[in-house]
């Protein structure tokens, strides 16, 4: 399998096969990032396709000295996701969910044993992440799922480093509260 920098060079020189390989290497990751932020299959598919097409057509703009290719791709993805959210005015939280959460106590912290991965339901975590405000959701997904550093997150989310850090912390606190409430 050729290395990514080699593929990028080949595509810059017009090798369409290299573009196809770049696409195949990244399509799942881009789609899943979009899906994590949008929670909608069709929207995520459109965003992923748009992101990959844009990246391939503007490959000259990618500067390996400034960012990893994945970081660049995720920057485009997050930008597209934000556009989509603005256009469709997606609500970060449904009213019924908000009302349901508002009536439940959140101060009975569980014991450490309760927080095992097996005991936490995947669907609960997914729903809790989806209920986060978009900036905090971005931060949690980019940190927990994509594994980006705070510097990369700041680049992707177009915010200061400290903001990226505080968004992860606040997102985590809200997740903790939400997961405590549903238990």
């Amino acid at each position: 399998m050729p290395e990514l920098p080699d593929l990028i060079d080949r595509w810059r020189n017009g090798d369409v096969q290299a573009a196809r390989l770049i696409y195949d290497m990244h399509r799942a990751r881009v789609f899943r990032l979009a899906y994590s932020l949008l929670n909608n299959n069709e929207d995520a598919e459109e965003v992923a396709q748009d992101t990959l097409a844009y990246a391939l057509m503007h490959i000259e703009q990618y500067d390996a000295a400034r960012a990893r290719f994945t970081t660049w791709l995720h920057t485009i993805t997050v930008s597209r996701v934000r556009d989509r959210q603005r256009r469709r005015s997606l609500s970060p939280i449904r009213l019924v969910d908000w009302l349901r959460r508002g009536g439940q106590p959140i101060d009975d912290a569980p014991t450490p044993e309760q927080w095992s991965a097996e005991q936490l339901d995947r669907e609960q975590v997914w729903q809790a992440v989806q209920q986060l405000p978009p900036p905090l959701r971005e931060a949690i997904v980019l940190r927990y799922w994509a594994g980006h550093s705070f510097q990369e997150m700041a680049q992707i989310m177009n915010c200061p480093l400290g903001t990226a850090q505080s968004r992860v912390r606040r997102g985590f606190e809200q997740l903790r509260d939400a997961l405590t409430a549903v238990r």
Binding site: Y35, S36, E45, A53, M57, P112, A117, V129, S166
Partner: protein
């Protein structure tokens, strides 16, 4: 700098968001404080549970079969040379702008094609229309309408602005009368 509340400090530590000095200070306190260690352990467990469940949820999402390179291949290949074309168009636009600019500069300096006069002579196409002499009033003989009537000539009346000079010759532009000097 205001210290963080303990919960926030723990979360920042667990998430790797403390700077080097703050991390060292926090770890020193961890070694001395069992309660703090327990709280950190709890946050870490929750963090790991959230992370592993989130990863599982995201990775479990199937990739749509329509998400293929072939779906965008035509667009990508068609638009691939765009930057080159764009550069060419930009270069032509700059060249055109330079030509227009140089033309304007030459015009402001004078007619570059005028080899007889001074450089300040405006080009005919851009100069004011040349003044034409006003034709003198004509007296046109008319045919005699009838044999029994007197032969009449219809004379065109000079316009009020016409001067005597109008009738004197072809160069009938009103001349400015020289004024006497002081």
């Amino acid at each position: 700098m205001t210290p963080l509340p303990l919960d926030e400090e723990i979360a920042a530590y667990v998430h790797g968001a403390l700077d080097e000095q703050a991390t060292a200070d926090f770890e020193r306190r961890l070694r001395e404080d069992a309660d703090l260690r327990q709280r950190v352990a709890r946050v870490r467990q929750l963090q790991q549970a959230v992370r592993s469940n989130l990863i599982a949820a995201v990775e479990g999402q199937p990739i749509p079969p329509a998400l293929t390179f072939d779906a965008i291949a035509a667009d990508v290949q068609r638009r691939r040379p765009a930057p080159l074309r764009l550069r060419l168009v930009s270069a032509l636009a700059v060249l055109g702008a330079l030509l227009i600019l140089s033309g304007a500069v030459l015009y402001s300096l004078g007619d570059p094609f005028n080899t007889t006069g001074s450089g300040a002579t405006p080009t005919p196409a851009l100069s004011a229309p040349a003044l034409q002499p006003i034709p003198p009033p004509e007296t046109t003989p008319q045919p005699t309408p009838s044999a029994d009537g007197p032969t009449t000539l219809i004379t065109r009346t000079p316009t009020p602005t016409a001067t005597a000079a109008d009738t004197d010759g072809p160069t009938s532009l009103p001349l400015r009368t020289p004024t006497a000097g002081p």
